[in-house]
Amino acid sequence: MRLAVCLSLVPDPATIDVDPLTGEIDADRTLYIMDPADAAALELALRLRGEGDTVIALTVGPAAAEPVLREALAAGADGALRLWDESRSATKPAVTSLLLATALRNEGLPDLVFCGWRSLARGSGKIPALLGEYLDWPVVTDIARLEIQAARVHFHRRLARGDRSEGEVTMPAVLAIAADGVRLRYASLPQLMQACRTAIPMRDLPDLGLSPLDLSFPASTVHAVTPPRPRPRTIFIPDSSLSPHERIGQILSAGAAPKSNTVLEGSPDEVADAIIAFLQARGFLEQPA
């Protein structure tokens, strides 16, 4: 089986220092790392690799992105390939996906392509589906766990708030990995030194047989980048007439403000009742009939 993993080098969020006025990132302080979701994807691909299987790492980026591929080689990837259009300073998801799809075709299509579910950089989360579109392959997003059974990938998918679904997809396929607990294995020192010496091949547009016209997509403008400003949240406030206890009525009237703060004191029995009535009023427990 041939496995390909798409990796990106991203700013470590812990080192991102945003100017509160301009929203600009202090580039001098920023350190770059392999995207953690991509690293989990690489680790799962390496774990899946059996006798005679190969894992190839790809990245779209300038020469400065090479370390992400060396890290993959050190961790055990069998090959690495960098793709870039020298005329650019950055790429959009559509361009990244098209470069990846074209390179995968040219190099001989793998059986599975692994991606991270969403990067820590601009984090569109669109690349897996776009890659599937350009390859005309099925796509499964947010995979927490996977297994190969009879030429199909059986997967557990992460849904909102802890729900999970289980399903299967035929091969070849694009798999977007969201395996939070999975860390990339440590590389040994000899592997690291070996990976540092390896020359990493690069393909540019002519190598890939693409023209700049292939990469022109509808324009959008990022008009401003700012530090986060939370938007006010709409909250549902239950009707206080539903409330059984007078005390809770009070809590609810204070609940009209964004945050109420009621402090109660009483016997264990009284406060337990108050907690239950509060949980009912907020919809955490069913209202008594």
Binding site: I16, V18, G23, I25, W117, L120, A121, G123, K126, P128, A129, L130, G132, E133, P138, V139, V140, T141, D142, L159, A160, R161, G162, D163, R164, S165, E166, E168, V169, A176, P218, S220, T221, V222, H223, V225, T226, P227, P228, R233, T234, F236, I237, K259, N261, T262, V263, L264, G266, P268, A272, A274, I275, I276, F278, L279, F284, L285, E286, A289
Partner: protein, 367 residues
């Protein structure tokens, strides 16, 4: 008629996801500023009854795409079923939740139709000059980006769940409902979902947990934590705690909350014997409702809580557990009326599931 603002809604366990209702309400705001209609597309199997709820949150038109093959999600299935309907709406804006499901098919249509798609959005609007505009999060929430397009550009938007929140419903608000039954061949779907399973509070990651019962040093020891585990089970909550509790080995090391542990955002955070130190509180600010029990009336967490209780947890918790059990048994004796189940699913009742609208019954697709 002016081109509508379209929402593609999602369901889980036969009900609409909160993220879908957020999209409908956001679409309502956008539609009002454009003086146009909100048109919701709802793919699924036997979901037509949900149209009223969509209307109550702002839909003017609902197109239900009905097919047995849509009972469980398939990206290929959604592409086959939704694309023709969506295309025909000529939407100015298309909104969908930024969910794993949405991310597996909507970007493909954006590429096919060359319509820009912005994901991880927290707000959508039209500027006073008429330009489509979105605000999105990037760099792990460290930055917000404002993105705009030329006037009249059709734009697709995936809305980050949980940011907008869902407002009150307006029951009886009318909408025109159309049911379409496309011809679909599930044998051509390359991906399919076999079943959906609810979270297990015992192993759900705290960052995803909807309810958390959390213990601090006030629990006094492993027996105190065991008591809290019982309370958590009763409330179908996950168990967490403070760092000092984890340091003493009363709690698994991956289940402490705070700046150096998990940053959580549950709907309910029930803290017992937790003082509310800065490093802990920084990890719970996303919680919707906070209840705290503490013997010390000056404990900082009591001031932050929606409901603070001055009292000894060792006295309060056993009483609380007993009362919750009595309630649950009463509810089981006289089951509350629940909306009819709309998925073709088998329900295996779980004892702890009673007393919660979205219960934890295992639900599986029929073969």
């Amino acid at each position: 008629m002016a081109a509508p603002v379209v929402v593609v809604a999602e369901t889980i366990y036969g009900g609409l996801t909160p993220a879908s209702l957020e999209c409908v309400e956001e679409a309502r705001d956008v539609a009002e500023s454009l003086a146009t209609a909100v048109h919701v597309i709802l793919p699924g199997h036997q979901t037509a009854a949900l149209a009223d709820e969509l209307a109550a949150h702002g839909a003017d038109r609902v197109t239900v795409i009905e097919h047995q093959a849509l009972a469980q999600f398939s990206a290929d299935g959604w592409l086959a079923a939704v694309a023709p309907v969506l295309k025909e709406t000529r939407a100015v804006f298309t909104l969908a939740p930024d969910s794993g499901y949405g991310r597996s098919w909507l970007p493909r249509l954006s590429a096919r139709w060359r319509i820009p798609l912005a994901s991880a959005c927290i707000r959508v609007k039209v500027t006073d000059e008429g330009y489509p505009e979105v605000f999105r999060v990037s760099h792990d929430g460290k930055l917000h980006e404002r993105q705009i397009w030329a006037r009249g550009t059709a734009v697709m938007v995936m809305l980050w769940p949980g940011v907008r929140g869902v407002g009150p419903a307006l029951p009886g608000r009318p909408a025109s409902v159309t049911v379409v039954e496309p011809e679909l061949d599930p044998a051509t779907f390359r991906d399919r979902t076999l079943r959906t399973v609810p979270p297990d509070p015992h192993d759900v990651d705290l960052t995803e947990a909807e309810r958390i019962v959390s213990g601090g040093l006030g629990v006094g020891g492993p027996e105190g934590m065991a008591l809290l585990q019982q309370l958590a089970d009763e409330l179908e909550a996950a168990l967490g705690g403070t760092r000092v509790v984890a340091d003493r080995g009363w709690l698994a090391a991956d289940r402490f909350i705070g700046t150096t542990g998990k940053i959580v955002a549950p709907k309910l955070y029930l803290a017992l014997g937790v003082s509310g130190a800065g490093q802990h509180v920084a990890g719970i600010t996303g919680s919707e409702t906070v209840i705290a029990v503490n013997t010390d009336r000056t404990a900082p967490l009591l001031k932050l809580a929606d409901l603070g209780v001055v009292g000894d947890l060792h006295a309060v918790v056993p009483v609380l557990i007993r009362k919750l059990r009595t309630l649950r048994q009463a509810a089981q004796a006289a089951p509350a009326v629940r909306p009819a189940l709309l998925d073709p699913v088998i329900r295996t009742p779980v004892a702890a599931a009673a007393g919660r609208p979205r219960d934890a019954s295992a639900r599986e697709a029929l073969p």
